[in-house]
């Protein structure tokens, strides 16, 4: 145990950082550094057995079912044309206002975020339906692309969120509590985006011309198309928040409901089901690999005591709660400019969570805060994955123009992050109120 020192842990973190930047799969990099570190610190036999225990324990965790089943639900909805129906309904309701289709895109992203937990998938799917519509109606490229790139990040915050499920498993926190805590930040984030659109349209009316008003009959028809989905989503999220069922059970209810809705819409067939199986298994495998690697890495980090050392160092600075959290936010934003969301979460959770807890904040709050910081990484260069996803949809719009369009939303994201730091009740209020 001579090597079980914070310095060993720190060297491990630096090697991991280098391997991640070198393009090694995130799960493999985390797992290899963790396993090699455990061999050095504990010896070969205990390290191998620990690895075996982590592998089997992870794959037999009941809560782990939450992840593939929510993904299964999302893939079933993809096949049922959910993204177009959600955007259409929002567009019929507010599309006639100046900037209305941009508001509708945010609404569509929020709705689609509630049936899938991925920022990239939300940006890509809503982008496919919303961007051509906005450009056809004369919206500026910058506003149209910026809105969908930023709106896509709602997919990660609004429950069920893939990032929060992974965080819950890694940090051993209640996924139900995390989902409940994400509801108000998700809603306020969407409202801030709407405020940004309102301001942009006020300053530059030509950026988003008004279009024709849909009749109430058209609106009712559009709302009727999404009623089943909205009811199911409300049941799933509401059921978790009110404690009617656990997140794993909610995922099953969601998947069973999505199957029933697909059958009701006459879209359920063998090919569609096989495609949903295939996509669900592929995406779940990708995330499981990262979770297993991260758990092995976490064991190594905790054995070296680096988290205690960092915690003691930060406590020694005696900065106080808000400055410490601002420092943590700065670290996350800096790392987020070179690491993608999952890597950022898995690298920083074992180290920064104890620091945040040492200044009196809860792990649930940190999960929301981290998720928000990850979302910002999706829309700021040089990584800004959502920007590239949107460029893939609108190929003739330059990345610089998309970035210009997303800038006001990025400013609102930073403001929102600050609000979450200054008013933790934004995240923690609802779980406390509902007593879950």
């Amino acid at each position: 145990m001579m090597l079980a020192t914070p310095e060993t842990g720190l060297i491990g973190v630096l090697i991991l950082f280098a391997l991640l930047l070198a393009g090694l799969p995130i799960g493999v990099a985390l797992g290899l550094v963790g396993m090699s570190g455990l061999v050095l610190v504990l010896g070969l036999e205990p390290a191998l057995i620990k690895g075996g225990v982590v592998l089997v324990d992870t794959l037999t965790r009941y809560e782990l079912g939450t992840l593939p089943l929510f993904m299964f639900m999302a893939h079933l909805f993809f096949s049922s044309n959910a993204s177009r129906d959600l955007f259409d309904a929002a567009a019929k309701m507010v599309g006639h206002r100046r900037g209305g289709l941009a508001y509708a895109s945010v609404g569509g992203c929020a709705g689609f975020g509630a049936i899938n937990g991925s920022s990239l998938a939300t940006a890509a799917t809503i982008g496919l339906v919303a961007l051509p519509e906005m450009r056809k109606r004369g919206y500026s490229d910058a506003l149209a692309t910026g809105t969908v790139a930023a709106g896509g990040t709602l997919g990660q915050m609004i429950p069920p969120s893939g990032a929060l499920i992974v965080f819950g498993i890694i940090a051993e926190q209640s996924i139900g509590k995390l989902f409940t805590a994400a509801i108000v930040p998700g809603i306020t984030q969407a409202l801030l985006y709407c405020l940004v659109i309102w301001i942009v349209v006020r300053l530059r009316p030509n950026a988003a011309p008004a279009s024709e008003r849909a009749t109430w009959a058209e609106r009712r028809a559009a709302l009727g198309k999404i009623a089943d989905m909205v009811l199911l989503i409300a049941l799933v999220i509401g059921g978790i928040a009110l404690g009617w069922f656990s997140p794993s059970e909610a995922a099953s209810i969601g998947a069973a409901g999505a199957l029933a809705i697909a059958a009701w819409r006459k879209r359920l067939n063998r090919d569609m089901l096989m495609k949903a199986f295939e996509e669900t298994l592929r995406t779940s495998g990708l995330i499981l690999m990262v979770i297993i690697g991260a758990l092995v890495f976490s064991v190594f980090i905790s054995v070296t005591g680096v988290t205690d050392a960092v915690g003691a160092w930060v406590t020694g600075l005696a900065l106080g709660t808000v400055p410490t959290l601002l420092l943590v936010a700065l670290i996350l934003l800096l790392l987020g400019s070179v690491l993608d969301g999952l890597a950022l979460m898995l690298l920083t959770t074992p180290i920064l969570l104890p620091v945040v807890e040492s200044v009196g904040m809860s792990a649930i709050w940190f999960g929301i805060f981290l998720c928000r910081a990850m979302e910002i990484g999706f829309v700021h260069p040089p990584l800004g994955m959502n920007l590239y996803v949107i460029q893939g949809v609108a190929k003739d719009v330059s990345i610089n123009r998309i970035f210009k369009g997303v800038m006001p939303f990025l400013a609102s994201d930073l403001f929102h992050l600050l609000i979450i730091i200054l008013f933790p009740a934004l995240a923690l209020g609802l779980p406390e109120l509902l007593g879950n």
Binding site: P25, L55, G65, L69, F277
Partner: protein, 150 residues
């Protein structure tokens, strides 16, 4: 899609459907006063099957998450080399996990571990998982030797 690949997807999919059905029935049953005993154990089995096959599918499809900041700026040859090294290191990591898991299985083999309520044989489940992990190691070694399929 090859027959083997289709079978893997189908078995994984059936496990997903099983987990969906068991938990959904358990929730409905609980609310009707007819609790489904052992539902958690059965879902654990379905999750183990779906999860281990999901790892295999993601590995065979080369769809593991990476940081692309530097990789996207590399030449094709450098990227191909890096892919092979990644696959080799992935095989090494999974081989280490497999050895640990086999070690545990060997230690517990004669213990005939069973779940408490429905008596699921964990020995059989460990065996299934280890066969899938071994397939993952083989797939990664194949990618390291041949290079990844585009």
């Amino acid at each position: 899609m090859s027959a083997l690949r289709k079978s893997v997807t189908l078995i994984g999919g059936i496990a997903l459907l099983a987990a969906t059905g068991i938990d959904a029935i358990a929730v409905i049953g609980r609310n009707l006063g007819l609790p489904l005993r052992g539902s958690i154990e059965l879902v654990q089995v379905a999750v183990l099957v779906a999860g281990s096959l999901a790892l295999l599918v993601a590995t065979v499809d080369n769809s593991h998450a990476k940081v692309h900041l530097l990789v996207d700026r590399m030449s094709d040859a450098a990227r191909a080399m890096l892919d092979r090294i990644s696959a080799l290191l992935g095989a090494l990591f999974f081989a280490a996990l497999l050895i640990g898991s086999l070690w545990l299985m060997a230690d517990l083999w004669t213990g005939h571990e069973q779940s408490e309520i429905v008596g699921v044989s964990w020995r059989a489940m460990r065996l299934f998982a280890n066969i899938v992990f071994a397939a993952i190691v083989v797939a990664l070694l194949g990618q390291a030797i041949r290079g990844k399929r585009p």
